[in-house]
Symmetry: C2
Subunit: 391 residues, 2 copies
């Protein structure tokens, strides 16, 4: 059994060289940048007015100002501002030469059709200077960035209409267990429905990888071995659930080895999720996940997600946020690091989910994150701060 941190180190130590492809901006959210984005222009590209108003010389603010031109966004100013002159200018318009400030419309009084007077007590400059946000040649977004909507505006402005992103790995999902039936079947007798398959498929797809659901595998070493071999020949990563514990039918680790997969660990000091197996064959990482649905879900979030992001060229290290507990919480044993699904109440306090054990999938409804409890910690009081990883 290895430590959770040690397990993360082993996973983080795997090296992948993902392929790249170019995508349209509309398909870019959720993808990982495969190139540094360099601005091909200054931003703003010229001194631009930040307000609707009049461009003039600050030294003339006490005087009557003659309006010599009118400039909207997109116009090229023809006139240079001289003493006691001004240009009517709209937000985004190019500030004419000679002007050093823009006074807001609301701070002026019209004198006649061609003259105004500044009526405020003071004014800001209200000019966004050429290149003040970015200079041509500046790095605007680094390779490895997970693209969110805020980045899309930046790519567009920097002229990157078809950014290079890393290819999405195809991730096989295999479920083991003779007792498992698919969700559309009413389970009779001792069978139970397959919730791990659909849930892993969802977890894979929301992080931008491609799930390849390969069904329920019979509880039999040779059937399992052939399913694994097929997945090895067509997928970039493999997740198999169940068959990893101490029961007589938990032959998955043995089968993985027989398929030529080198196993790096087979047990982790974590709750839930102790019987988690991780290995690799060539460039293909393989996880044997616990059959218990809450365990499989949580181990995906804690270990598989960082690995899949790594395969897509992104370092996934969302900070654990320190938040106050909304109620007391305690546990009976503290021999392992533990992660508990939690929600946030309206005050942003942490409320641990009602949680009967690792088969209790309903504890995942409304889970905002996972609260970590270190080895040796038995209880946390209301108001104490805890580290929560968002899921």
């Amino acid at each position: 059994m290895i430590d959770f941190k040690e397990a993360l180190k082993i996973i983080g130590g795997q090296v992948f060289v993902p392929d790249t492809e170019r995508v349209d901006l509309r398909d870019a959210p959720g993808r990982i940048l495969a190139e540094d984005i360099i601005s091909d222009i200054d931003m703003p590209p010229f001194d631009r007015s930040a307000m609707d108003g009049f461009a003039c010389r600050r030294s003339d603010l006490g005087d009557r100002l003659e309006i010599i031109e009118s400039i909207k966004a997109g116009d090229v100013p023809r006139m240079r501002i001289g003493r006691n002159q001004c240009t009517r200018i709209m937000t985004g318009g190019k500030v004419p030469d000679g002007a050093d400030c823009v006074i807001m419309v609301e701070h002026t009084l019209p004198e006649d059709d061609r003259h105004i007077r500044f009526a405020g007590s003071k004014t800001a400059g209200n000019i966004a200077f050429k290149g003040e946000d970015l200079k041509k040649g500046d790095l605007v977004l680094a390779k490895g960035t997970l693209l969110r909507p805020g980045h899309i505006a930046i790519l567009a402005a920097a002229g990157s209409g078809k950014p290079a992103v890393f290819r999405q790995p195809l991730v096989a999902v295999l479920t083991t267990g003779d007792e498992i039936v698919e969700p559309d079947t009413l389970p009779g007798g001792t069978s139970i429905r397959n919730s791990n398959g659909p849930s892993l498929v969802a977890q894979i797809s929301v992080i931008g990888a491609l799930p390849d659901y390969r069904g329920i595998i019979e509880d039999d070493p040779s059937a399992t071995a052939s399913a694994i071999s097929e997945a090895l020949s067509s997928c970039d990563a493999i997740l198999i659930t169940g068959g990893v514990s101490m029961g007589d039918y938990d032959f998955v680790p043995e089968v993985l080895r027989s398929c030529g997969i080198e196993l790096f660990f087979e047990k982790v000091a974590i709750k839930p999720g102790r019987p988690t197996v991780f290995g690799k064959k060539g460039n293909i990482p393989v996880f044997g996940l616990p059959g218990n649905p809450v365990s499989a879900f949580i181990i995906f979030e804690l270990m598989v997600k960082p690995l899949l992001f790594q395969m897509m060229g992104h370092k996934y290290d969302l900070p654990a946020i320190s938040l106050p507990m909304g109620r007391d919480y305690s546990r009976k044993k503290a021999d392992r690091v533990s992660f508990i699904p939690v929600s946030l109440n309206s005050r942003g306090e942490v409320i641990p989910a009602e949680y009967h054990g690792s088969g209790h999938i309903h504890s995942l409804a409304g889970a905002w994150g996972l609260m970590g409890m270190e080895t040796g910690v038995y209880s946390i009081k209301k108001g104490e701060r805890v580290n929560v990883r968002q899921i």
Copy 2:
């Protein structure tokens, strides 16, 4: 000019009756449930073993136990446990009648092929009882739930392989401005690239609605009116950026009115984003968003996003999380509510983005959320707690 809270109240008061459709579980993440999900079975469906071990009677733990059967997940037990008897049982297996606990393999010693002895000092029950998580007929997920991966496991377990979800609204995105060119063009002279279009398209699609990008509209009232009319005839909601401020070419509010759109407000006491317009024609809500890219982005997050979720049958009320500031922050004016893009440092503290003004789109790179500052608040000290809305 109306208050930000008042604006949210007006938006929140709009009523929509969205259509529904059924989707496969693999397409369900990010969609909104259009039906209550009722479990069609008890969960667990039978008394199941939570461990690999031996099912027996607690009163016999001091005695040698005879192994009378072996049960894996999916098997139906044939034998009833009597005095000094036990059944070998795997995790997920159905606990045989007569047993009241499962002792872990690790806590037993084999005596011979057919007998074991309990070697621990005490044991938990290790049985998940029939219906202890959920009873048949229980509500497992409510109509209006935004489906995340954790919910998918629950849908699967409850037998909902094709849940009813609300239809995704088609949201028109129109950009105004003669100075605007598309991202693949190198802007010459006084033109600038369209970043609002791609960024709004991304914001719409990541919340699960359908963007319909309709290009750049000429700065002309009749061109704008005909673009709006076309969008009204084919889309479920309209976003138009630019042309809403005080400049001479800011005729968008007027044009919206001429298209028969009732405007509920045309200015909001918020920074950035004061010139935000909101109205409705029939069931079609229309936003006039500021042309400044940071303003448009932030107003989408604060006002458009709740509205679009409403149109999809979901009440969007992510709590503002209270987090400590990582550095001092101040502003010169405090006459409006203000929202500043912020990131989190490795200690989970709030770091305001370097932010030159509402044209400074690079401030959105790495933004984790928006920090709110109420009217009258000029500064926040390092260590003080601030409310952050995640974006």
